[in-house]
Symmetry: C2
Subunit: 223 residues, 2 copies
């Protein structure tokens, strides 16, 4: 039996200058009218569940593909494929992040010409993925309520390089000592332009606002 998605072993980039490679990839995406979103977070913050909600909202109006990057396993690509969306699994062979060259290997496999939006679900890590421009048009990150409101203080770079911050799992706010005002203040200290979307991928609350922002970005890039 063949799986409904491919597993690609991506190799560390041979390009010495990742920033130049990323810029080249972005220019190619512009020409193909494909928007690439780089989605980052800690392990377990709900990237895949948030993505499922996003696909549910946008899949009838946009042609979407998903690249799931993980060190190992293919549970995420399977979940996305089961939801009826084109997906591939990228295995990084122990690497803790994706660079532009690795992202390009994935894009070649999934094929961008007939896709309006490709979401790259980066390796779960708040540190290393933030250091490498993947060639994405926009970067988004998820911080979930159980992780705590102090994360912008401890992991500054990822908050600086992101355009949007999703605060996930707001349905469990009553059970955690999480201060929404503080997290917004700390995140804006790192990046005053950061758009912040509190939501619950579980209940669906707040998902429309996030999808509205994403839809607008995709149209601005592709039109």
């Amino acid at each position: 039996m063949t799986e409904p998605y491919k597993i690609i072993e991506v190799k560390e980039s041979v390009f010495a200058d990742n920033d130049r490679e990323a810029a080249r990839l972005r220019a190619q995406l512009k020409q193909d009218r494909t928007f690439l979103l780089n989605l980052m977070s800690s392990p377990g913050s709900g990237k895949t569940t948030t993505l499922l909600r996003t696909l549910e909202t946008l899949k009838d109006e946009l042609r979407i593909g998903v690249m799931e990057a993980d060190i190992d396993s293919d549970v995420d690509a399977k979940t996305i494929a089961d939801a009826g969306v084109k997906s591939i699994q990228l295995h990084t062979g122990g690497m803790c992040h994706l660079d532009a060259g690795m992202t390009e290997q994935g894009l070649k496999e999934i094929g961008t010409k007939n896709l309006d939006l490709v979401v790259l679900e980066n390796v779960g890590n708040l540190v290393c993925p933030a250091e490498f421009d993947t060639g994405a048009v926009k970067n988004a990150m998820i911080l979930s309520v159980p992780e705590g409101h102090d994360k912008p203080l401890k992991y500054p770079l990822i908050f600086t390089v992101c355009d949007a911050l999703i605060i996930n799992k707001i349905d469990v706010l009553p059970y955690f000592d999480f201060d929404m005002e503080k997290v917004v203040k700390y995140a804006h200290m790192r990046n005053p332009k950061l758009k912040i979307f509190p939501l619950s991928a579980k209940t669906g609350e707040g998902v429309d606002d996030w999808c509205g922002w994403l839809r607008k970005q995709v149209h601005e890039w592709n039109d």
Copy 2:
């Protein structure tokens, strides 16, 4: 006003062979009768809170020091110092992990001769810290309930290199789709010898079992 803890900027190790450096450091710790615990986890899994509970339980019988490693901020060292325990903050200057050389720089500052137990709270990350032997006598990691039971499938190495796995935040089990049987099965697939301690650092449930294990390790090493 001086803070009750030092902040040390640790530099990437100059040693080509981290494993040899780690072994050398461990031999030194044996001679000093100091047990070094390397504590790893994702951001927000509750390393500092678990540590506070552990200190509460053990600080009257063991002389303990804590090294808090972070890319930035000193909130954790402050929290530990406020609890009356000797602590220092290690800043990694953007590095996503500590190696043996960096750990040794911290140990020199905190001083091991009069300490029975030093806990190194590594940078919050399930990937990179697992790749570097810090010279610790034992490695422990925390996985918290909101992160999900599939993490041993996605981040295999850290489960393989750890001696103990703390499953934290069991007080919120009713609000999450977390399968304790599955996580134990997946974790033991990676490492059959892994000791697993479900606990809640918030309520204190299960903390005694974890502290019992740690106490025994410290005595076996130091006696």
